[in-house]
Symmetry: C3
Subunit: 455 residues, 3 copies
């Protein structure tokens, strides 16, 4: 049964929104589309996609537009949104309502602010596909990467995948790591020294997927890891323990894929990279026995992190990888447009987010869409735990801790666990960082008398 | 019978070019297209539209391109013409002749200069659609607005439509007002104080459509008009006089539509708006009894002139209004491409304009296309009256008064009514502002002897 | 039999790559397409072209895109490549491999660097069409110009074609001149004084096509040549000698076409044009008896070099000429996509170029693509003669002379003809400008002892 569209369209904002079953079904359709891409023009005839790009990304845009054209659809292109209606002060919410209201049947959105696609999905009558929102998500890139493993290896579960290079700033790599863990693949981290996987990523891998990091013996990776401490991340399933050769750690055996990443220099502080030479995949690195059957992947564009000589190696699949972006996007578009049926159960819907009823925007992330899109959308959050009070921004997912809860009606603040909190009407609830913030906003402790009542 | 195309294509430059009968026929076709827009791909197969945008306007462009794709046609996009051939010094006339000569079957033109679309229509072998030329015309926006009234109210004649906000600088509002008057609708002006409908608009409403402005009692408009003096403009037809409750003016009864406009800040002088807060349509304003059945319209983009709360009100149709831009543009495109037939008589052709044979360009409008497009097109005008001698620029429609008429052959100038004027060959006719201008250009009075003859 | 595609696609990089037979076949197909361009939508259904424009050229882009749409294909547009992936440091080679690898079936490339299309063709799995690379080639413009002669005159061989204006800097005119010579047409040069055909063009015309320049008596050209010394360039075939009226030169008889060019002011030094007024084709120039049947052509855009009055002359075909760019590009696209068959023998393949094995890039042309595209492509050349050692850059075709040959293994340099040169392994070959360059790079003469061997 196809999506219940357009009454409540399905969006693709985060890779987390898509179930493993759905991904497998999408891969199967992509396989079909990849066969002879010019024979599917009857899949979406009369349908229109709109590319709304608030920052340029020609490769991503062309990949989507190629997919839509192959499906027989039409394409509207707004490659430079910033030079247009933004100048006239239109909110993203309004633009989405207009374009989704009658111009297009699906919106492909690229935006520099984190959470922009989530916000757009709240307002769009048609499916929104996130084509990259700041450094947060780029789910079709992740689906493309996973699809490549599926094609090259026939499966994803149990694969050993090396992630190499800048693992600190590349959020695409983080999304890919989470997805690999969900599929039950093992990750071998070979970071550029100083650019290891951030703690919060490792923590989430552990909490959500039971992944355990183990210091790995990377001698068999040879030259590739000569300059780096490898770490092995594996979902804790009994059958995989046999991979470990002894108690001191894990010895890398055969690797299935090496995923190279470019240095995200646009996010580096000026000095961070100056001393160290960035990792470069050379021909001799590929000679390591453990890489004998490994495919080399790269999300592209690359700069100097893969040597020219490696291009000719049959294990290098990065250009094929990019080409496969078209059939996987054909699958995604025809799925969200209700033109193919995945025949799998719908995943559990996420908890709806809560609006921040009053007070300042608690999200501390300066690139969050909630910071700039203030005209028709307000801050929203998901509660993660009640005591201590922790929440996540509903747009950019940044975690926020609150020390106190205020009531905008009484002007009083309380500890999150206090009985009085249960009495506060939702519209009067104010989440407060700490006492200083509470006082600055004019709140007083619950014990203190109400000065206005006294007067 | 379809348009006699391409020998003499029909263009859409000004809303004035379209008869009431044609508009009704276009609305009927738009109704049909709106039904299921994806089923009309056989309307314009193999046809191509070209979007030539000399200033960005993503919304308008996407609306046209969506319409063309829905009709099964192809789309050429030049969204940033200024960065292109203009740099190489090509005239608009030449660009139009090339694009219209073989690349496209219809040209959608957006240009910052007033009268640009009229000029383009003089050179184009295919229909030109004006998608906005400076602050002059945007006829498809006007048709979209009228179409919305037609859909929401079933008729336009006799409706009471409130125009609210900046009525001074919004030329879209002026076009809309003229069109409403032509249809026999009544206009209630609720301007931002200081931003009333300009005198020349009221004058034209009176002269062309017999519209009489009456100071209105706007108490029933409640909050909406609390800050503003309302004026009622009505075509003088006997049956409408009954609307007036007494001799002192008209009392607003039930309003059919409220048309909000944004402040055209880009055209305001720096101080004009600083003191006054711009009108904002709030929920409580919509509670007025007179607005009970009124739909709220806005050409979009909006900024803060409509409150968020109003979005959820079922009377708010501005997003529907934008969506209906697609079916009405499908009707316009298929009409001008000769693919549908309006089955109404052709309107009377406008008088051809006259070239300014010699001398300086008499049009005083600095944003008129005749000021910059000098290579392959010269100034042209329409004579409005002979004594006093008044003309209108054939491009930007600006009225020009002339005090004197010169003959470039004899070097003599005359009063417009003088018998000698009839003797001047058209190619020698020079229109002169006044005596000072005449002398500056080397003309002498008709009485004075010819110095060159004497020598 | 269609092209052997995509295993080894045929590209259109230079007009020299296309044989006369192929051009005639393309003209025949273009004639067919020109008949009713809207009836060929079944020619390339499901095929996609990608316009990759690294500098804006709206006219050229729209012409290609119109052709592709008329053929029923889809179009991907990247009109402003410079603002996109280039910023992320991606090489042209990688972009071409990605776009050609899966997004598009044919690439239309415009690039400011000379030789960019040649380089792209080395990496592309799909056909590359050169839509202008710097001032080097614009083969579809040349094919369009030739096609116009074919349509207007029914043949090209033996025609007398006037090339007028800036013949020095317009490389389009140079390409056109070479192509006319190949077809056996005669050229009458009427240059803007100071902007004559460069010596190397005349030399190549002589060496490759046996063309002889003869000072012409241009009195019959009247006003057109009043300010200019005309030169007649004719392929030396016996039957054409009869054209010459006497031994002193050739007298211009009936001209078949006048090809006007605009001043290439962007390539002029600041003073070059200041004194002289650029040639302007006026009505009275067209009154010359010799031009009675001449068509007037111009590649457009024009500025002031053709008077408005000439536009109305039925001999002025420049707008028709531009319009015919669509059917000829329909022929080119459907040919390279293997959808039509030219039924002529394949031309002889060009000699493969040689990589510069080591040492500095010998190409002295600062706008050559080999200067900037250094990541995945190295300098390459074609040897023209061995003694003296002359080569041509494989990208920009610039000729290079070498005084010496070095061996990077022994560190010794030799004269090009020396016996020792034959012993140097290709990978050690270094081409050296002269002794100073050799010494600067650490080479020593063949006689001198090896200092490192001594140590």
């Amino acid at each position: 049964m196809s999506q219940d569209h357009p009454a409540s369209p399905r969006h693709l904002v985060s890779i987390d929104d898509v179930s493993i079953e759905e991904m497998h079904a999408l891969f199967a359709h992509a396989d079909r589309f990849a066969g002879n891409p010019r024979t599917f023009a009857d899949t979406c005839p009369g349908f229109i996609s709109a590319s709304l790009f608030y920052e340029p990304s020609t490769r991503t845009r062309l990949s989507f537009e190629s997919a839509m054209l192959r499906l027989g659809g039409g394409v509207l292109t707004a490659a430079e949104m910033t030079s247009s209606s933004v100048v006239k002060g239109e909110s993203l919410a309004d633009t989405i309502r207009v374009v989704g209201g009658g111009y297009a049947d699906v919106i492909v959105l690229r935006h520099p602010s984190e959470g922009a696609a989530r916000l757009a999905s709240h307002f769009s009558p048609v499916p929104v596909i996130n084509a990259g929102d700041g450094s947060l998500e780029h789910p079709t890139q992740t689906l493309c990467d996973l699809y490549n493993l599926h094609v090259e290896r026939g499966r994803i579960e149990g694969l050993d995948v090396v992630l190499a290079g800048d693992l600190k700033y590349s959020r695409t790599v983080h999304s890919f790591a989470f997805a690999l863990a969900r599929f039950g693949a093992n990750i071998v981290c070979v970071p550029q020294p100083g650019f290891e996987l951030p703690e919060y990523v490792v923590k989430r891998l552990h909490e959500e997927f039971g992944v355990e990091p183990i210091r790995a013996d990377a001698r068999r990776l040879g030259n590739l890891a000569s300059n780096s401490d490898a770490v092995y991340l594996t979902p804790q399933k009994p059958h995989q323990l046999s991979l470990f050769t002894d108690a001191r750690g894990w010895e890398v055996q055969q690797v299935d894929a090496v995923y190279m990443t470019r240095p995200q220099t646009e996010r580096h502080s000026s000095k961070e990279m100056s001393e160290t030479q960035y990792l470069r995949l050379e021909k001799r690195a590929m000679a390591a026995e453990s890489l004998r059957d490994a495919v080399v992947m790269h999300p592209l564009p690359r700069r100097d992190e893969i040597s020219d000589e490696v291009d000719a190696d049959p294990r290098s699949i990065y250009f094929k990888q990019a080409a496969r972006g078209v059939p996987i996007r054909m699958a995604i578009l025809s799925w969200l447009l209700g033109r193919i049926d995945l025949d799998v159960p719908l995943p559990k819907a996420a908890e709806p987010s809560l609006a921040v009823p009053s007070g300042p925007n608690p999200c501390p992330n300066p690139s969050c869409i909630s910071r700039t899109e203030t005209r028709h959308a307000g801050p929203r959050f998901h509660v993660i735990s009640e005591t201590p009070l922790r929440a996540a921004c509903a747009y950019c997912t940044r975690e926020i801790s609150f020390g106190l809860v205020g009531c905008s009606s009484t002007g009083v603040y309380h500890a999150p666990g206090a009985a009085a909190v249960g009495q506060i009407h939702f519209h009067h609830l104010v989440l407060l960082e700490d006492e200083a913030a509470a006082v600055r906003l004019g709140f007083r402790p619950s014990a203190a008398p109400d000065p206005s009542a006294r007067a």
